[in-house]
Symmetry: C2
């Protein structure tokens, strides 16, 4: 029994090693540098061990993405706590979100850009994802108008943030005016919708 548990512990340890190695490599040189061979060399094992832990490269990216979601949720939470008022909190959360995306582009891509086999908008989604969304929701809900569904409004605001970040990062929007665009987005969401 004890031997069994030691082995399981070692396995779990190695799995964490794989995930952090993948993440660090991706953050340092981008996901295109994360090849199974490079990753195997990094953890000082041979290639096939990766496949005894994960179904494939996508699954490794998914594991990294889940980690990232937990961090994003935490950063949005602390930003929200430090701010005052409905508008202040939404602004703070929006800034925390985009700051995270710009500081950790590779992590962000694994979470929200790359095709990755994670359940998202369902109850089966990993707790970390739901946590991150809940954090956004908590900031958006107070500024929702009477008849608006807060969930849908949050999704829409999220889309705005995501669009800003991705278009900017791919060079399709100039970096310089980011703060002003973010301000515009948040400003229009905290206004009363004229329907």
């Amino acid at each position: 029994m004890s031997i069994q548990t030691r082995r399981e512990r070692e396995r779990a340890e190695r799995e964490r090693l794989i995930v952090t190695a993948a993440r660090e490599l991706a953050e340092a040189e981008g996901w295109e540098a994360v090849t199974t061979r490079r990753l195997a060399a990094e953890i000082e094992y041979s290639q096939p061990v990766l496949y005894s832990h994960f179904k494939g490269k996508e699954a490794i990216m998914a594991a990294v993405a889940v980690q990232g979601c937990a961090e994003l949720a935490a950063e949005m939470r602390t930003a929200s706590r430090a701010a005052k008022g409905k508008r202040g909190r939404l602004t703070a959360v929006g800034e925390a979100y985009t700051a995270f995306a710009r500081r950790r582009p590779a992590l962000y891509d694994a979470m929200f850009t790359h095709r990755v086999d994670l359940p998202f908008a369902t109850p089966e989604a990993p707790a970390e994802l739901q946590e991150a969304f809940a954090e956004l929701l908590a900031a958006v809900e107070p500024i929702a108008a009477e008849g608006d569904d807060p969930g849908l409004l949050t999704e829409t605001y999220w889309a705005g943030l995501h669009g800003l970040v991705t278009l900017m990062r791919s060079g399709r929007l100039p970096e310089g005016a980011h703060e002003r665009r973010l301000e515009l987005l948040t400003g229009h969401f905290t206004a009363e919708a004229s329907r």
Copy 2:
């Protein structure tokens, strides 16, 4: 001289052939199916001819993207013309944009998601790109508030549309509520910002 021109004409013809073949293959089976070998077989030439026309696969995708921009601009324009009023036009253009993205996902990805070496937010950007942006601008400008920069507001609205489309297509937002989210986005942009 005539021989020269005939050759140039044939070359240009073949170049168009490459671009349309790439586009059709991408739309039918996705960009991951568009390999240089497959593409070469499709145009009934060998692989290396592709490289006598384009610097690489990315350049081919860029050419497809430019085509797509022209079409998107045209579709937004006709939608805008058919609509009435400031709000009606913005709604129509937003719907045209997202409808285009959902109907031609591969084309959309080449234009706005995949990393592609096209100048975007500069005067050197291809005319087709500027045209598409101008079409959006024309719809957004009338609803801009007093002190708002219409260009920045357009970029922000664009980001919202782009976020909605990409998050939905990657399964991160449920497809069902798309119309309602789009309505929320447009609604908040046509409202007065409370700054």
